[in-house]
């Protein structure tokens, strides 16, 4: 009670990835960039290798991802996504661009033809970090058998048939597990969880 916490700033004052991204966007903060790199680069390399990239390709994708993060930091909107989510999308798009050599079709938020939200979502005031925390909490409550099919569908973009083979379970079981898992994950942001 007395010593450790006395007068110490609240735990939320410890800078995290969202703060590092803001520091990069606002003042080209290289120390923040280094922190972000230490936190995510080895994970991104591991992720890309799980997706089937060679070590060299994965290393290149890490480089390109962080160049992208440095350049685009000003586009990061903490209201929309957690830092990890945003960095994931940067890495994902680079992989499609560089390895598959395809375009990644995406919405244009400024498109006049875009249909906006009819009413603000019940949880519209949640930050991206809070949304991601809800999704992680939903993942944590899933049975292990559902988590493993979700992970396999993200790794290697594995088709349902390949997942069934790898886990040695019927295709219908893969589909029903995914359906249950996806519904639970969605409900984390629907505000009716």
């Amino acid at each position: 009670m007395s010593g450790a916490t006395g007068g110490a700033p609240a735990a939320t004052a410890v800078p995290g990835p969202e703060d590092w991204l803001r520091a990069i966007a606002e003042r080209e903060d290289r120390a923040a960039f280094a922190s972000l790199f230490r936190a995510f680069a080895p994970r991104i390399k591991g992720y890309m290798m799980r997706l089937g990239c060679s070590a060299a390709q994965a290393e290149d994708l890490v480089q390109e991802t962080f160049v992208g993060v440095w350049r685009k930091a000003r586009l990061y909107d903490p209201a929309k996504a957690a830092a990890a989510t945003w960095i994931f999308t940067v890495a994902r798009n680079l992989r499609i661009d560089l390895l598959r050599r395809e375009r990644r079709p995406e919405i244009d938020p400024d498109d006049p033809a875009l249909v906006g939200d009819a009413a603000p979502l019940p949880d519209a005031e949640l930050s991206g970090k809070q949304q991601a925390a809800r999704v992680r909490a939903a993942l944590a409550t899933l049975p292990a058998e559902q988590v493993s099919v979700v992970e396999l569908s993200f790794f290697a973009g594995k088709a349902h048939g390949a997942i069934a083979e790898e886990l040695d379970i019927p295709l219908g079981t893969v589909k029903s597990r995914l359906r249950l898992a996806f519904r639970r994950i969605r409900s984390a942001l629907d505000g009716n969880s």
């Binding site: 966007a25 290289r30 960039f33 680069a41 080895p42 994970r43 390399k45 591991g46 992720y47 799980r50 290393e59 890490v62 480089q63 962080f66 160049v67 440095w70 350049r71 685009k72 930091a73 000003r74 996504a81 957690a82 990890a84 989510t85 945003w86 960095i87 994931f88 999308t89 890495a91 992989r95 499609i96 050599r101 395809e102 079709p105 995406e106 919405i107 244009d108 498109d111 006049p112 033809a113 875009l114 249909v115 939200d117 949304q131 991601a132 999704v135 992680r136 993942l139 979700v150 992970e151 569908s153 993200f154 973009g157 589909k175 995914l178 359906r179 996806f182 994950i185 969605r186 942001l189």
Partner: protein, 226 residues
């Protein structure tokens, strides 16, 4: 306008994970432009991707990886050269005819001009199409069906996704209007009828050619490669 037929969670999750081919991604993203509910779902699935990536077993980086990166930063100041999210469209949505609803991005950037100036190919009575240039294995095309058209009963050799852009049609699964998506698998056999009050414009993505059933259909088969 309320969307009744959404994309399945498996496709939305696959799009979020980066697993869809370009043609399928084009259809998913164009639906997202019209559907806030599916945008929220994709945001949730991207958060799953972020969590999975951040929880991945770390792999050792090459020695000097960060130094190599830092050397590139001087040439890439933050915000100095943000590339546009998508290539600038050749025309604005307002350039489309006033009668037709606007084609949202990203589909618009795949068209070389306004709808009435595309190279339409007549493929059968009341049916015309424009193939789109997309990478990857699947094919994408715009399909326009005349009002009140009864298409022959047909099945599919592979999966087919249809997104309605204007007008509408009905089949055994219900009524489909702007923003609605129909996913057809090889088992599905359907017989769509377009609304009587105007043409129906759709984006169609297939991973296999259509297979018609019935005599008329067999006669049409050589002509209607929808």
């Amino acid at each position: 306008m309320t969307i009744q037929h959404h994309l399945g969670d498996d496709l939305l999750a696959s799009y979020a994970a980066g697993g869809t081919d370009e043609a399928t991604g084009l259809l998913v993203a164009t639906h997202l432009a019209l559907c806030p509910a599916c945008r929220t779902a994709v945001a949730a699935f991207e958060a799953v991707g972020g969590a999975i990536m951040a929880g991945c077993e770390p792999a050792d980086l090459n020695a000097g990886a960060f130094a190599a990166l830092e050397a590139r930063l001087g040439r890439a100041e933050p915000g100095s050269s943000v590339p546009p999210a998508s290539p600038a469209p050749a025309f604005a949505p307002a350039a489309l005819s006033a009668a037709a609803p606007a084609i949202p991005q990203p589909l618009r950037s795949y068209l070389v001009g306004p709808l009435d100036r595309l190279r339409w190919q007549r493929v059968g009575p009341g049916v015309r199409r424009v193939p789109l240039r997309v990478g990857g294995g699947a094919t994408a095309r715009l399909l326009e069906l005349a009002p009140g058209l009864k298409l022959p009963r047909h099945g599919h050799t592979a999966s087919e996704l249809t997104l309605v852009l204007s007008g509408g049609y009905s089949d055994e699964s219900g009524r489909f209007a702007r923003g609605d998506v129909e996913e057809a698998t090889p088992e599905d056999v359907h017989r769509p009828i377009t609304d009587p009050d105007g043409p129906c414009l759709c984006l169609v993505v297939t991973t296999g050619a259509l297979r018609f059933t019935g005599l008329t259909a067999r006669l049409l088969q050589p002509f209607i490669r929808l």
